[in-house]
Amino acid sequence: MKFESQSVAKPYFIFALALFTGQILFGLIMGLQYIIGDFLFPYLPFNVARMVHTNLLIVWLLFGFMGASYYLVPEEAGVELHSPRLARIMFWVFAAAGVATILGYLLVPYAELARLTHNELLPTMGREFLEQPTITKIGIVVVALAFIYNIGMTVLKGRKTVINMVLITGLIGLAVFFLFSFYNPENLVLDKFFWWWVVHLWVEGVWELILGAILAFVLIKVTGVDREVIEKWLYVIIAMALISGLIGMGHHYYWIGPGEYWLWLGSIFSAIEPIPFFMMVMFAFRMVRQRRHQHGNQIATLWALGTAVMAFLGAGVWGFIHTLAPVNYYTHGSQITAAHGHLAFFGAYAMVVMCIISYAMPIMRGRLQGNSPQAQKLETFAFWAMCISMLGITLALTVAGAWQVALQRLPEVGALSFMNTQDKLIPIFWVRELFGVVFFLGLVAYLASFFVGGVKVADRQQQESTEKAAEAVCCGSCN
């Protein structure tokens, strides 16, 4: 760790992983509710479980992004964080607001929560992913502003590297587009139209800048490849992400009211959306192949490669299979959508957060060259368990979706009803749940890897690196 203040990232990462664990537990409950419809009813209706599942996801990713920023921005800028104290205060504010909101979902009926928090004064609740009470949304804005102020001042004081500039652009975009969550007109079509300005412009827009910046940072660190090369790749990737993704928003406008030209615009531009993800795969593998040194933290490198591959599969390939308007006409809002959602969020965002955690946590714990080989071995097992089981979940949901389309959507006469179709899909939902359990075991192994001791790689490599120092090539990370 180059700067003392980078360590404020630690509680952010730890709390993110705690919320992640909660997210998966609720996912397992919902998976079971897909099979046994009245499981835990009426104590935990599906809608509550889902709200907890998706909101925990969003919040833990935000914690992850914040932790990543607090860790990497000072190092990139070459100065201490503007105010570590503000970062620590905001951690507790955000954690308290997050926990209170989740408890609100679980302990009182949603309508009661809306009444208690005076949703009628500024109605923003009850829309997918934006279920938080208005007061929580205001809290999120306050935390985001304090966070961006802190990060922004740090960037301004120090070196304005490409990674820092791209990251701060992404973070500012995240905050700005969240403001659309306060716009909730009586007209459902307008509501939906601008709802996507939060949801799409986050996950297929500014979050990709954050993803790119974090990935580039880790790749510079673990490969030692020249910063100039990595920055060029970063620019091209995020350029393609914005060029395809901004108008690609059209794929959400097919069936919710906007006019017919969105069918064309959405299809054409979202057909380009896999390209930046494909380039990310080429980028990650090429940088690792051209690495100038062998970093002791090999699992962090694996996470970086894995993020690129799984993001390409989830966001790129699984996005593409249902994005063209003539296909989407039949698959919209089916289990195909769920398949894409799971692999894309895991591959792109969950994995990049675990990637930076895997790189930064050992350093914050004084293990400069990564955890012990035993710990890395367990983490590698967890990596594969989670990746493979998430692919299993995705494939199961894809089969479920295709079957659903065949039974319920395609037939012009004699189509099965939604509920009857769901009954037919139960065997596949069992497969999904089984993979879900494997995913959970992978997560447990991942968490356990933090507690595995053993000989530090650092001790072994310290000696080697001193010997090699004379002939060492510049790793590029210090300029």
């Binding site: 509710q33 046994i36 419809g37 009245d38 009813f41 209706p45 599906f46 809608n47 509550v48 889902r50 949603y110 309508a111 809306a114 009444r115 949703n119 109605p123 609740m125 009850g126 829309r127 997918e128 279920e131 490409v162 009586e186 007209n187 459902l188 079509v189 307008l190 509501d191 139209f193 100039e228 920055e231 060029k232 790749w233 620019y235 091209v236 350029a239 914005l242 060029i243 901004l246 108008i247 928003m249 069936w255 919710i256 009211g257 906007p258 006019g259 017919e260 069918l263 615009l265 039949y330 809002g333 089916s334 769920a338 319920q408 959507r409 395609l410 189509a415 009803s417 939604f418 509920m419």
Partner: protein
Amino acid sequence: MAEMFTKGMARNIYYGGGVFFFLLLVGLTFDTLRELPQRDHRENITESVARGKALWEENNCIGCHSLMGEGAYFAPELANVFDRYGQGSEENFHQFMQAWMAMQPMPTEGRRKMPQFHLSQQQVADLTDFLIWTSRVNDNDWPPNREG
């Protein structure tokens, strides 16, 4: 990447492309906002429809159902529920909705259950009006059939 292609060029594509396509998005948004009144029939958004939307939100209906294909996929699509159960008559659909909402949760064991929301008759009527209005939005003829 070839040496010819410099970091400066990549940066320019990023800034230029990002700004250009964002402005294009803003332009298309204005065009869509101009066109929408003919497609969403906002003149038919009565106070009852507006109250119905608020009820839809405050009971988190989207947490199980989908509406125009968006939401959860645990319970049926409702943007066309009027087409499915209304038999073309608003009055029939109102009767259906009153009965349907009153009988939840249904006692079938193992079946997915909708909670009892304890809505008043007026509230069910508002919700119904909201769903009827929604079913008449021009959504490019989605869903493919009445099953949603």
